[in-house]
């Protein structure tokens, strides 16, 4: 075993930290967060520096690196600012489905635009009433001559309204079992028949839009099918696994950032004639926070590292996400408490770490789903 980053990983990490330090202007970000706006210019700069699509192949303007490096970016960005970091990392949401399963033509057309900061992407997968799953979706895509005609409604669409294209999961064969019934379609933003309804202000991650999308006889060319008909469900399952490791990275960075702010504050703040970092109960609280962050980091790095080695495990992914989401929530909560009244004030820049953490922990999966998945793995199949 080896718990060290490689030299090049350390360089990437440092570059990401430097970028965040240089470009994440506090006042600007507080305003963007308040106004629910995507940090467009920062994202464009990030793509100029090659941070966007770092895991895309070179030919698609990527750096040909792995999920691990993408997770390092998530951690570094979110540690500096959880809201902006999450927005940058989620800007290419869903594009991994294109990367892994799309035709060369589709990839050549769209992936570089994502990586070059021209286009935000989005996976439009779940629907109202399906919880976090996609087993019972109702949106259909029916082939008619040279087109697919899509009808239905997608809920909780990340970047809905901001994205240049959507990867839309549709039932193509209503008569077969859900696992074989679906296909994934690339739908461009301007395609007639799409209506976007923004979901409004959120608990956290407010620089990322969430929307409901309705598709009313939306027509896309046959070639916009991503991968094979019938593979949609499996593709999405695979994507969600990858995405959740990135989300674990976002949560990890959020936890780390909250810890850093808390440590900095207790080292400076004086009450009762001494630095509050000298109070034993507060020291123990900081230690508890540090343990949570550290364990979350180990679990997240392991999931990412093994993913890149082709050792893909739902259980490891969900352990990483559960550990990181729990750490982010607990550490951000403790950071607010350690700041006292100042922690509650937006300007201090701590409270949004909590809101972002909680959002991350419940928006795309919740504890119930994560524990259920881990239990499946640990308990195994049962007879009788």
């Amino acid at each position: 075993m080896d718990f060290e980053l490689t030299k090049s990983q350390k360089q990437i990490q440092k570059a990401a930290k430097d970028f965040a330090k240089g470009e994440f202007d506090k006042e600007t970000l507080l305003t963007l967060e308040k106004e629910n706006c995507f940090p467009l210019s920062i994202w464009e700069k990030a793509s100029d520096l090659g941070f966007v699509g770092i895991h895309f192949d070179d030919e698609f303007s990527g750096a040909g690196l792995g999920l691990f490096e993408n997770v390092l970016l998530a951690e570094a960005f979110c540690a500096k600012d959880s809201s902006a970091g999450a927005a940058l990392m989620l800007a290419s949401h869903g594009s991994e489905m294109l990367l892994r399963f799309g035709s060369k033509a589709l990839k050549e057309t769209f992936l570089p635009r994502v990586a070059e900061g021209e286009m935000i992407s989005s996976g439009a997968l779940g629907e109202a009433g399906t919880g976090y799953g996609v087993a019972t979706i109702a949106t259909t895509a029916l082939a008619q001559k040279d087109q697919w005609i899509i009808n239905g409604e997608k809920a909780w669409v990340t970047n809905g309204g901001d994205a240049g294209f959507y990867l839309v999961l549709c039932v193509t064969d209503p008569d077969v079992a859900p696992e074989k019934a679906m296909g994934l379609f690339l739908v461009e933003k301007e395609t007639p028949g799409i209506t976007v309804t923004d979901s409004g202000r959120k608990l956290g991650c407010c620089m990322v839009k969430t929307a409901t999308l309705t598709f009313d006889n939306v027509r896309v060319p046959l070639s916009n099918l991503v991968g094979k008909k019938g593979d949609g469900f499996a593709q999405v399952e695979g994507f969600l696994n990858e995405q959740r490791i990135v989300t674990a990275g976002i949560a990890l960075g959020t936890a780390q950032g909250a810890l850093e702010r808390a440590v900095a504050y207790v080292r400076e703040r004086e009450q009762f004639g001494r630095k509050i970092a000298r109070f034993e109960a507060l020291r123990h609280k900081i230690a508890t926070m540090a343990i949570q962050v550290d364990l979350a980091r180990l679990a997240t790095y392991r999931a990412a590292s093994n993913f890149d080695r082709g050792k893909i495990s739902q259980a490891e992914t969900h352990m990483a996400l559960e550990a990181a989401a729990a750490a982010a929530e607990a550490v951000a909560d403790a950071a607010i408490q350690l700041h006292g009244g100042a922690g509650y004030i937006t300007e201090t820049g701590v409270e949004h770490f909590y809101r972002d953490a909680k959002f991350i922990g419940i928006h795309d999966s919740n504890q119930g789903l994560r524990l259920g998945s881990i239990a499946n793995h640990v308990i195994g199949k049962l007879k009788g």
Binding site: L30, K34, G126, G129, T130, G131, Y132, G133, A135, T136, A155, W156, S199, G200, R201, K202, L203, G204, T210, E270, Q271, F272, G273, A281, L282, E329, D333, I336, Q337, G340, G341, G343, Y344, I345, T346, E347, E351, Y354, R355, K358, F359, G361, I362, H363, D364, N366, Q367, G368, L371
Partner: protein
Amino acid sequence: MEILKFTEKHTAFRERLRLFLEKEVVPLIPQCEKEHITPKSMWKKMGQNGFLCPTVPGEYGGPGLDFLYSVIVNEEMARISFTGLAAGLHSDIVVPYISAYGNERQKKYYLPECVSGDIIAAVAMTEPDAGSDVAAMVTTAVEEGDEIVINGSKTFISNGLNCDIVILAAKDPAIENKHQAVSLYIVEAGTPGFTKGAPFEKMGWNSQDTTELFFSDCRIPKGNRLGKAGDGFLMLMGKLQQERLVCSLGALFAAENMFNYTKDMCRNTLVDGRALSRSQAVQFALAEMATEIRIVKTFMETLVIDHMDCKQIISETSMAKYWTTDMVNRIGSRCMDLEGSAGSLETSPLVRQFRDNRVTSIFAGTNEIMKGIIAKMMQL
């Protein structure tokens, strides 16, 4: 076991208040949240309808009711989760300084308008460098002839922008002993040298005009001192029991409210056609939360009785403050977990109520301070 004996009159009061809030207050909440302030007219309406300062005696313009009416107001305010109309703060935390420590003139002069809602009151203790460590305050009050000259600033003052009077803690720089140097003063808004900052942007309490207050050679009559010179600390300490009790009740009621919403939501939300509440894990989570709330509610009710019986329950109210305000955060978080995606949008009532309550473990003495008090009372 019925601990709080609500009479028919209490119940009628509660129902009148509930109707009033639904009709007059709830529709305005979104606007207030957006603007970080609540119109003074709403305070006046609250007062005109008899919902402010229930315990102020008739001779000072109040209805002279018992503390259970305050409990009712706090509960109903928690149900609508509206911090802009901080009725509990005004009626049960700030105004009691005047009721308890004011002289006859001060009481006759201020209390009737506090009851009617024409005066909104605030209390100003905290300073940037004097949070938990109240004794570290640097705001000064110096006697000059018939006047007191105040210099300094206060922060995190609820009702700060709206307030017409503020109960101000300031110290006499000539007195060395920190604890004997502090006196309380009534400062009226509009007094030259007294200015207010802009409302803070906060995690919650967005309809609340929490702000900073600045005093620069602000002169007030000597007669505006509350109680005796140098008794400031004692008076502040004397009112903490009710402050912490009210704060705990608010946290308890908020937790109950979030729980009730969540229980119904789990019953009514279908995922793939099955109600969330059919999941055993969800059932256990709800059972655990119901238990937590039920147990501490009984405790809180006995504290209300003790408080009404004028018992000193310093340790118990510190316990209540720490436990209920931690609990409301824990419950809010678990409720959002159960609601899932929908609980991550501001359209869920859980979100605002959670954000609003996150401060309760910090204000009225942080929970760390509470634990210190409990430890001290145990002579550790």
